[in-house]
Structure formats: structure tokens, C-alpha cells
Amino acid sequence: MADSAHKTEPSNDLVETTQAHVGHGSDAHVEINPMEISGQMVIWTWVLFFITLGALYKLAWKPILGALDSREEEIQESIDHAETLRQEMAELEAVKAKQLAEADEKSRKILEAARKGAREQAEAIEEKARDEAAILTENALRDIDVSRALAEDGLRIKSAAWARALAGKLIEENLDDAKNQALTDKLIEEL
């Protein structure tokens, strides 16, 4: 096959380019071994890798990782602070609820005491009113008794006068005032 290749040269630009690149003639058989170890290339790799590592550490990784760490710390602090605030709020809520409960209890007691006081006061007023009413009733009854006694006295007097007048007419005896009075008093006395 190699002999054939010598005889028939492909007139192709790429082949010529390849020959030019590889740096050999058309009959060249270049042995390219991709597994060939080159110490020089390994050293180039080390040197360039460590230069890159050092430079990037200084220029990029340190500031970036530092910024990430400080941001993480800030976020953690914010979370911790928020947690502290939440706990404080919960405690305040508990205190508020407790105070509200105490105020509720206190107001309930005040209301109860006020209600009790009002009830007692009402009862006292009622009692007093009842007593006063009883006194008034008693007084009124007494007044009534007095008035009735007075009325009865008056009626008695009137009745005696009428009876005397009737009796005078009946006996047709004209009695003078002194006699009339004496008779009347006598009759009243008798009544």
C-alpha cells in the first residue's frame, strides 16, 4: 500500500497542508505517540498550575470565599437575631396574655365587688325605704286615728247639737245657750 501511495500522489490541498504541518514529504510516516511522556511538559504544568493557584488565591478565591463566609455569618447572625426577637416576642406575648388575664380577673373582681356593693346598697336602701315607709305608714295611720278621733269628736258634737235641736223641738222648750252648752257637755260626756 505504501508503494502504491508513492506512485499515486493525491493532488489535494489538505494533503499538502498536512505534509507541510507534519513537516515531512509525501512518503513520510510520522510516528505520533500521544502516550509519550515528557518531563518538560509536566514541569510546565506544575509551574503554571501553582502560579495560577497562587495568583487566584490572592486575587479571587480569598476575597470571594471571604465575602461568602462573612455573608454566611451575617445571614446566620440575622437568623439568630430574628430567632432571639421571636423568642422575646413570644415572651412578651406571654407576659401580655398574663397581664391581660390578671386585668381580666381584677376587673371581674371589681365588677363583682361593685355588683355586691350595689346589691348591698340597694338592699340597704330598700330596707331603709321599707323602714321609712313603715314609719310613714305608722304616722299616717296615727294621723288617720287622730283625724278619725277628731272627726268622731266633731261628729259627736254635731250629733249632740242635732240631737239637742231635735230634742228641743220635740220638747219645744227653749233652752238658753248656757243650758244648751251644759246639756251638750252632759250628753257628750254620756256618749
Partner: protein, 261 residues
């Protein structure tokens, strides 16, 4: 017959072309310029220098913090990755104390590998992580921390105790300890090969699909769409491999820092 021979010839040259583009070389050849590099530096070393320069300038200049103000724009976007790497990788595998301390290493691993991976997908640049020496260099950094970091944290005796699980009879330890020690190297070798092979394979696939066009002409036109699709997949792979390397490094270092016994 002549046509078949010509196709075979093209295929051979495409193969050369693909391997030339995915492996390291002493030149930086683009359609715009062609630089022949001195012997002490290679194309992939240039890519690593650009990667470092981009990261240092980019992260050093564009990300600014103002005290007392919330981060905005790119700073905010970067913070998402930084937080993820610190919390889900570094702290998750190394614990709160060591995880915070080691976060810059894993952040640099992630962004260094990611930038190098993505650079290979941009025109004019190449994938330095498709070079086994680069991935070996990175994995050896992990190895360094697995050995000397663990010695610093647990002491030399504590470091060797990590290879001897508690309760295992001593005759078994004679066999087990060397296996565990070899395992330390194998873990780093796996890190090396995984990243290198993934990045190399992805680019070989993309270049091979483009090479099909050269070999078979317009008949292979659908391969261009496939190459584009694979290239988009490579963007995802770039992120995934950077993540995988960082996670596995954190896991391996974490296992040595805090042995499970």
C-alpha cells in the same frame, strides 16, 4: 483500483493530519499565523500559559466586591460555581475544616481544567488537557496532597496507618498494605488517563468526522453535521471532565486525610 488507492492515500494523510492536530507539537500553526516554537516550549505549554493568563486576568479583574452591597453580574455567576465547588465537593469530601482550607485548590483544579478543555474547542487553540503530560502533572498535584498533605494532617505514622484497616489480621496486612499503596498510584494514574483519554478521544472523533469529508468528498457531508453535534457534546464533556477530575481529587485526598478507621 486507482480510485481506491487514492482514497487510501487520503485516509493515511487524514490520519496523520488528525494525530498532528490532537497531539502536542513544537509549533502553533493556524490559518492566521504559523509559529515555530523554541525547544523549551511546546504548543500545549502555550495553551497552558494562555489558560493561566486568562484565569488570572479574568478572575482578578472582573470580579469585584463592594462591602455592604449584594454581588451582581459575573461575580454572582462565579459565586454559584465557587459555592458549588466549596460546599458540594471540597467540604463534602474533606469535612468542614479541611474542606474550607482546601477549597482554593479544588476551585483552581476545576477552573484550570475547564478553561483548558474549552480552549480546545475554540478555533486557533488546542486542547492541552488532551496531552497526557498535562493531566499527569495535574494528577501528580493530587498525589502530592494525598501523600504529603495526609502526612501533614495525620503525621507520618497516621499516613501509613491509613493503609492498614483496623481489625485485619497481620498476615493479610502484609498483602493488603502494598496493594493499598499501589492503589494510591493507580488512583492518580486513573485520573491522568481519564481526563487525557476523554479530551483526546473527543477531538479525534471531531477531526475524524471532518476527515471523512476529505476522504470521501461530498458523500460524507452529513459527517459535518455530526462533527458539529459532537463539538457541542464536547462543551458538556469539558464541564463534566473538569467536575469529575475535581470530585475524584477531593475524594482521594479526603480518603487519605480522614481514613475510615
Amino acid at each position: 483500483m486507482e480510485h481506491a488507492t487514492e482514497t487510501a492515500q487520503r485516509s493515511h494523510h487524514v490520519n496523520q493530519w488528525v494525530m498532528h492536530h490532537v497531539t502536542d507539537s513544537g509549533e502553533w500553526h493556524t490559518p492566521l499565523w504559523s509559529l515555530h516554537l523554541p525547544s523549551w516550549i511546546s504548543n500545549n505549554a502555550i495553551m497552558l500559559i494562555i489558560t493561566s493568563f486568562f484565569l488570572i486576568i479574568g478572575f482578578g479583574s472582573f470580579f469585584r466586591y463592594q462591602k455592604g452591597k449584594a454581588p451582581r453580574g459575573w461575580t454572582n455567576a462565579l459565586e454559584v460555581f465557587v459555592l458549588f465547588v466549596r460546599n458540594e465537593i471540597s467540604i463534602a469530601y474533606l469535612g468542614e475544616k479541611d474542606g474550607r482550607k482546601m477549597a482554593p485548590l479544588f476551585l483552581t483544579f476545576f477552573f484550570f481544567i475547564l478553561t483548558a478543555n474549552l480552549m480546545g474547542l475554540c478555533p486557533l487553540f488546542s486542547t492541552s488537557t488532551g496531552n497526557i503530560n498535562v493531566t499527569l502533572g495535574l494528577a501528580s498535584v493530587t498525589f502530592f496532597f494525598m501523600v504529603f498533605g495526609a502526612m501533614y494532617v495525620n503525621g507520618p505514622i497516621g499516613f501509613f496507618k491509613a493503609f492498614a484497616p483496623a481489625g485485619v489480621p497481620w498476615p493479610i496486612l502484609i498483602i493488603l498494605m502494598p496493594i493499598e499503596m499501589v492503589g494510591l498510584v493507580i488512583k492518580c494514574a486513573a485520573l491522568t488517563i481519564r481526563l487525557f483519554a476523554n479530551m483526546l478521544a473527543g477531538h479525534i472523533v471531531v477531526f475524524s468526522l471532518v476527515g471523512l469529508l476529505v476522504t470521501f468528498g461530498f458523500w460524507a457531508l452529513p459527517a459535518l453535521a455530526m462533527a458539529l453535534a459532537i463539538n457541542l457534546l464536547e462543551v458538556f464533556i469539558a464541564f463534566l471532565q473538569a467536575y469529575v477530575f475535581t470530585v475524584l481529587s477531593a475524594m482521594f485526598i479526603g480518603e487519605m486525610y480522614h481514613p475510615a478507621h
